[in-house]
């Protein structure tokens, strides 16, 4: 079986890279053919992942009912450091993989207006896809890191070569920010690696972590286990699943470093690395610049996929590997999320540049993701009932997918109009509804998805996250709830300035021709998905909920096991309200 999975997942990951290789042999002047070829490759990868989502794909099928990793394979890569070519899928990564292949395909279709160095563009584009898919699928921390960096470089060039006037600045800013995050991550990876020891795990745990292949017979497993136990020196590992087991079931990562447990530092470093990618205030300023300068399809990928890597990393790595640090820093994480939401919304309200506004809306919307992941409400006062956290984490995951649909849509809509009039000044639009009714209708629909209107995808994630916060902290909950007002304000004001009004106020008004078929073919799927996910969220929850719930249950279980050693987290603010008339308070409320 493993070899089937090896073929399957490797194909998914490396097919784009292979396509890039083939593209290198295309004659320089055949730009149209290159674009078609690249589109074909992305479409093929999308089809491949789509088939996995279908119910009757046999061995290939992604089984939504399984909570653990599936399609797992592990092949030695650098044995001297225990590094494996180790990949797998679960309900957390699969929706994101599907989203990646889908958005990449649409972005490639949106790349038709690119005329400069088409060959290089397509090659970098495909390599980028390989990098992203690799990050989502990798289960070996080292492999994860490699893909993380692989993804970084094409993005740098895609912004820096094909971008707008300030592209070099934006590209370097993007690169340095992300590289900084990557470096922090690397430090944390090494910290964890050098304090890990497979010998601390039981045989079952090792099998669960795929250190010992579950496909082996009982006897072989025992032999492998004995072999691991026989070593005198600690057996280090990069296996993310094994690190999770170590973090949750042993005190391998609790060694003291500068007065704090090692995992506290590791968590913080990883969090910074991921939060830069999300991005959360105050590490977000690369995003508006990168978006404003990047060409439309790259903005789509950036907003639709790359931001999700941060959220994915927090769910997959930060919390499960460092639960204690996650518990102690839960307020910090949630506060990051809430601050991003509020800050992003305020900043969006003040923007004059259409694309910058959408970029800040991304900051605000991704704040929900960080918040939803962080609401550690499985605490003593709650009897470790993790339902609210499940709701938050599922909401966060849904928000990632929903934002992955809505945000590329918004950027594409901005791109469509930018291509026609070559400016993005919000004060110089207006009246587009009359000139381009179909476009405006779709755009308004997609922007409403961003606004979180019920029936569209943005609502589900936002409302689940918001509702889950009360059990964690009341103040944060109230601030969270208030963001709906700001969101409505900046989105509606934007719509008013761009689409409504009597006439178009900016330059190149005569270029405002209706949407082309190609543009429609990109916008319509996004629009339809935005509605479908809003009306029938089960189509996403179906895949993600079992795994997400499993993750939350594991962490809640950890909290319960370690309840005695943990600092009490106040689940409810016991400060009494000001007494109104204490003497008249009745004993029984009837």
């Amino acid at each position: 079986m493993e070899s089937t999975y090896l073929t399957l997942l490797s194909t998914v990951v490396f097919l784009p890279a292979l396509g890039a290789l083939v593209l290198a042999f295309f004659p320089r002047e055949k730009t149209e053919a290159m674009k078609y070829f690249a589109l074909g490759v992305t479409a093929l990868v999308f089809l491949l992942t789509l088939i996995m989502a279908l119910p009757s794909a046999g061995d290939w099928q992604f089984d939504a009912a399984v909570t653990d990793m599936q399609k797992v394979f592990s092949v030695g890569w650098i044995p001297s450091f225990n590094i494996n070519y180790f990949m797998g899928l679960d309900g957390i990564s699969f929706p994101l993989v599907l989203l990646t292949t889908f958005v990449t395909m649409l972005s490639m279709a949106a790349s038709w207006p690119i005329e400069k160095h088409v060959k290089a563009y397509c090659i970098l584009f495909l390599i980028l896809e390989t990098g992203v898919l690799g990050v989502f699928l990798a289960l070996d921390f080292f492999l994860f890191y490699v893909f993380w960096e692989v993804m970084l470089l094409p993005m740098y060039f895609l912004i820096g070569v094909w971008g707008g006037p300030r592209r070099e600045y934006a590209a370097i800013k993007f690169f340095l920010y992300t590289l900084l995050g990557g470096v922090f991550m690397l430090i944390a990876i090494l910290m964890l690696y050098f304090s890990s020891d497979l010998k601390m795990l039981s045989k079952d745990q090792l099998v669960a972590a795929h250190v010992i292949s579950p496909e082996l017979s009982e006897g072989e497993q025992a032999a492998r286990f004995a072999e691991i136990q026989a070593h005198t020196t600690p057996r280090r590992t990069f296996n993310i699943l094994a690190l999770q087991q170590l973090g949750q079931h042993t005190d391998a990562f609790n060694g003291d470093v500068l007065g704090k447990p090692l995992q506290w530092w590791a968590f913080l470093l990883l969090l910074i690395g991921f939060v830069i990618k999300v991005p959360s205030v105050p590490l977000h300023t690369w995003l508006p610049d990168a978006h404003v300068e990047a060409p439309t399809p790259i903005s789509m990928i950036l907003a639709g996929i790359l931001l999700k890597l941060g959220g994915y990393g927090i769910i997959r790595i930060c919390y499960p590997i460092c639960p204690q640090a996650g518990y102690e820093l839960a307020y910090f994480v949630c506060a990051l999320g809430v601050v991003s939401m509020v800050y992003g919304a305020f900043a969006a309200l003040a923007q004059k540049d259409f694309k910058r506004l959408v970029a800040y809306s991304s900051v605000s919307h991704m704040g929900y993701v960080v918040l939803g992941i962080g609401v550690w409400s499985a605490v003593a006062g709650n009897e470790f009932n993790a339902d609210a956290w499940k709701m938050g984490m599922n909401g966060a995951m849904f928000q990632m997918v929903a934002h992955g649909i809505a945000s590329p849509g918004m950027f594409f809509m901005v791109g469509v109009i930018y291509e026609r009039v070559h400016h993005r000044n919000l004060d110089q639009f207006g009246g587009l509804f009359a000139k381009m009714p179909l476009y405006s209708g779709l755009a308004i629909g997609i922007f409403f998805a961003g606004l979180g209107l019920p029936g569209l995808c943005g609502f589900i994630g936002e409302v689940f996250v918001t509702l889950s916060v009360w059990s964690f902290n009341h103040t944060l909950a109230i601030i969270t709830a208030s963001v709906v007002v700001l969101t409505a304000a900046y989105i509606l004001w934007t719509l008013q300035r761009v689409y409504l009004g009597p006439e178009y106020k900016g330059p190149h008004g005569d270029h405002l021709h209706p949407m082309t078929t190609r543009e429609l073919a990109i916008a319509l799927p996004l629009f339809v998905l935005a509605i479908a996910m809003g009306v029938y969220p089960q189509m996403v929850f179906h895949y993600m909920t079992p795994s997400v719930n499993q993750t939350v249950d594991d962490l809640a279980g950890w909290a319960q096991r370690n309840a005695a050693n943990l600092p009490q987290m106040a689940a409810f603010d016991p400060t009494a309200p000001a007494p109104v008339a204490p003497a008249l308070v009745q004993a029984e409320i009837q």
Partner: protein
């Protein structure tokens, strides 16, 4: 017909038909008939179908299936409570059996169609409110928390369905005529382009009906919703429909501003509502109103209502265990389920800061949060500012969305969520309603835009309903909601007819129009009389007569129990007088007297039949709908839906001596008669004033305005609410937004950029040191070597013999040295 299985299907279809219409028009709208004319017909047919289905559900399913709850039952008088009792025990028994049938049938149903009927537990003593609840499908489930699309059908739901679909049908007909202009290319005279011309644009007939259909779907969704989260979903959807419809004339800046204002102000209310939702889900773990068996184990999980009002406690308000537990969270040890005794002990602990007290506060805050949403939607003080601006939309929209249905949704939700409100919450509701009704009524006196007068009147009437609900008059409030929907939609449609005729909203340009458009004039007169509450005391009256009387009587009864809150009654009575005054001011200014603007007058004409036929139908209904003589009277229907626990007088807990008298007390002669007289008197006095000022022009209103200039200016500027909000909310928010953006640019990016600069400076230093220190050393060494070499080159003569000499001499010298030093 079996209501448990029939009602969800009938009302579900009635709910979804407009959605189908919306989808079809969205996809094929412009191709429907000539210029999209077919869209109007389709939408009308769709809502007509819904109306037929709703009426069938009401008259042929609900009414035959459930008995009436008689208003009084002598046997229970001694308990001091009006037990609304089932008159026919046999019928109740039937209900019981029926219930079992429902369960039996349930098990055969597909799982998305689980229905649960309330148990008629003790058929001998209590009337148990009948309802049908179930779930269609789940949006998400996490552990025990689930959010789904479900239904909760009681007689209020059915009545609301019938009312909404019927009025909507009338308005659809009317709109087919009113929006006729949109069939052609039209010129918008209110929009001037930069080149000085007026805007020409293609008509948008189909789009109007597309939004109307979506609105009907969303509105019915609110009414049928079986859980508070679903209410919130459709709450937002009606909000967005309202946004689209207010901003229908998208080219007009004022329209898009008004649309934005409406939506954003509503979102402020939603902010509170979300907090309420958060508390409910966090403490109760359910959003469902009724008891629904969602996990399929045969027993229903209790909904919010059952948790708040348990049968064991005789349906009196009780703080649910979940809230007590949440309040006591810090006292619960890890992994231990608190025992029932513990919870009871905590509940009793009500001293300052005690757990029971905190839990009670949670309940209050949850209720207030939900009410916040209602404040936004129903345009109550302090969020009333959006509704008058919303009149930018086409008039049928104002009639349907902004008077009869959507704005009433807030009142409806207060009524629906009534069991959860504590007496203290209700008091807040009453006070808010009271303030609203007064503010809006005073502004309406001076407004000259015909639709704005009606808009303020709507706000004021909604305030009445809130007041009624707040003082314990559940059925009075709901009753007024229904009657108001009929006469206010009528009034709006009449005003639309006038606007259609004279092409202006300004009443100062009207006058004498009754000669030109008699149907409009006299149907509107009926509407004015209805809203004034005209009637022959104790004999017969228009619909407003009954509902307003009920409200005043309840306010009076409340005043009797709580003398310190007596002003609620006085304000309500004063409001009634003002209502009569401004409504007849409107009528006189529009239809009576001499034409003020002859140009407008000359072009005026009666509207086409498709517009005034609905007016006549509604006028008749505005007169008769509330009559108690009908076999199916609204009051009796509403009494069936009265929330459990509100058959009796309830007392406040936190606020001293707050008492909500049971509503049946207000029917007793000492309140009822007094209230009727008061209502008649204040109504007539308002009417009289209007006649004096505008009907007979005995006094000149302009004189009075000059006399009371400050008051007049204050009212003319709508109490300066818009300016106030601009100063305390809009500007600060924009200010903060700009500062945040600047902070981003200046501080964060500044730090990043200066870090980059610093790095570059370090790099330059590094470069310098490289160039001058490291390279200097290496180069210097090389230079020295070169110089030495140059100096030594003169020794290289190229002569062999010399070299040999060197070798020899060198060898000899070495030998000499070695022999000297080594030996």
């Amino acid at each position: 017909m079996d209501p448990v299985t029939t009602l969800p299907v009938l009302l579900g279809i009635a709910w979804l038909v407009p959605l189908a219409s919306f989808t079809l028009i969205l996809l094929f709208g412009p191709r429907m008939g000539k210029h999209g004319q077919g869209a109007g017909m389709l939408a009308t047919a769709a809502i007509g179908t819904s109306a037929v289905l709703s009426l069938i559900a009401l008259f042929f399913v609900w009414v035959p299936a459930y008995d009436w709850a008689p208003e009084h039952h002598a046997a229970h008088a001694e308990h001091g409570a009006a037990e609304h009792h089932d008159a026919g025990h046999g019928e109740a028994g039937h209900d019981d059996a029926h219930d079992k049938d429902a369960h039996g049938a349930d098990e055969h149903q597909a799982e998305e169609h689980k229905t649960e009927e309330h148990k008629t537990a003790d058929e001998h003593h209590d009337w148990r409110k009948p309802y049908v609840a179930g779930e269609w499908y789940t949006l998400g489930q996490f552990g025990k928390l689930r959010i789904g699309i479900s239904y909760y059908i009681d007689s209020l739901t059915v009545t609301m369905f019938a009312m909404i679909t019927f009025i909507a049908t009338m308005i659809h007909f009317y709109a087919n005529g009113y929006m006729h202009d949109e069939l052609h290319e039209i010129t918008d005279h209110e929009v001037t382009l930069s080149n000085g011309h007026h805007l020409h644009r293609p008509g948008r007939f189909h789009r109007f009906f597309q939004y109307l259909s979506l609105f009907c779907f969303s509105m019915l969704g609110i009414v049928i919703a079986g859980n508070i989260a679903m209410v919130f979903v459709f709450w937002e959807l009606v909000g967005i429909c309202s946004y689209f419809l207010i901003g229908f004339y998208i080219e007009r800046k004022s329209a898009s501003n008004a649309a934005n204002k409406a939506f954003i102000v509503n979102r402020v209310g939603d902010f509170g509502m979300i907090i309420g939702l958060m508390i409910l889900i966090a403490t109760l773990g359910t959003f469902s109103f009724g008891d629904i068996d969602t996990d399929g184990d045969g027993t229903a999980e209790p909904g919010i209502f059952s948790l708040v009002r348990t049968e064991a406690n005789n349906y009196a308000l009780v703080v649910p265990d979940g809230m007590v537990r949440a309040a006591a969270a810090s006292e619960i040890a890890a992994g231990v389920e608190p025992s029932a005794e513990q919870i009871a002990a905590w509940r009793a602990e009500t001293g300052p800061g005690g757990i029971g007290r905190t839990a009670y506060w949670l309940l209050i805050v949850a209720g207030l949060g939900i009410f916040c949403g209602c404040v936004g939607k129903s345009a109550q003080f302090p969020l009333h500012v959006w509704l008058p601006d919303a009149m930018e939309g086409p008039t049928p929209v104002s009639a349907l969305v902004h008077s009869a249905t959507m704005v009433a949704a807030g009142v409806y939700l207060v009524g629906r969520f009534y069991p959860v409100f504590t007496p203290e919450t209700l008091l807040v509701i009453a006070v808010i309603g009271c303030i609203t009704l007064f503010i809006a009524a005073t502004i309406a006196i001076v407004a000259v835009d015909i639709k704005r007068v009606l808009a303020y009147s709507t706000v004021s009437q909604l305030g009445y309903m809130m007041l009624a609900l707040g003082v314990g008059g559940w059925s009075a409030g709901m009753f007024h909601l229904i009657t108001h929907a009929f006469f206010k939609s009528l009034l709006f449609m009449c005003s639309g007819s006038v606007i259609h005729a004279v092409h202006t909203n300004d009443m100062t340009k009207m006058g004498g129009l009754r000669h030109k458009m008699p149907f409009t004039a006299y149907t509107m007169l009926a509407g004015c009389l209805a809203i004034m509450g005209a009637g022959i005391p104790f004999m017969i009256g228009l619909s407003g007569y009954y509902s307003k009387d009920a409200i005043l009587a309840q306010a009076l009864s409340f005043k009797a129990s709580n003398p310190q809150w007596g002003f609620l009654f006085y304000v309500a009575a004063a409001g009634a007088a003002i209502t009569a005054f401004y409504m007849f001011r409107l009528w006189f200014m529009t239809f009576a007297g001499k034409p003020r603007d002859h140009h407008a007058y000359d072009h005026a004409h009666e509207s086409p039949k498709i517009m005034y036929y609905p007016l006549i139908v509604l006028a008749v209904l505005a007169v008769v709908v509330a009559w108690p003589f009908w076999p199916v009277s609204i009051v009796a229907l509403l009494e069936q839906a009265r929330p459990e626990g509100f058959h009796e007088t309830v007392n406040g807990v936190l606020v001293s001596n707050l008492t909500h008298p049971a509503e049946h007390i207000s029917h007793e002669p000492n309140f009822h008669i007094q209230a009727t007289w008061v209502a008649t008197f204040v109504g007539l006095s308002g009417l009289g004033l209007a006649i004096v000022f505008y009907g007979l022009s005995l006094l000149n209103p302009a004189e009075v305005a000059r006399q009371f200039k400050p008051v007049y200016t204050f009212l003319w500027n709508k109490w300066y609410f818009d300016e106030l909000y601009d100063y305390i909310f809009v500007r600060p928010v924009l200010f903060v937004a700009n500062r945040v953006a600047e902070f981003d640019k200046v501080v964060i990016d500044g730090i990043i950029d200066s870090l980059a600069m610093l790095t570059r400076m370090v790099a330059r230093l590094d470069d310098l040191s490289d160039r001058y220190l490291v390279d200097g050393f290496v180069n210097g060494l090389a230079a020295w070597t070169y110089a030495t070499g140059s100096k030594l080159r003169s020794a290289e003569t190229g002569r062999i013999r010399q070299y040999v000499m060197f070798i020899v001499v060198g060898t000899v010298a070495m030998f000499v040295l070695i022999s000297l030093y080594i030996s």
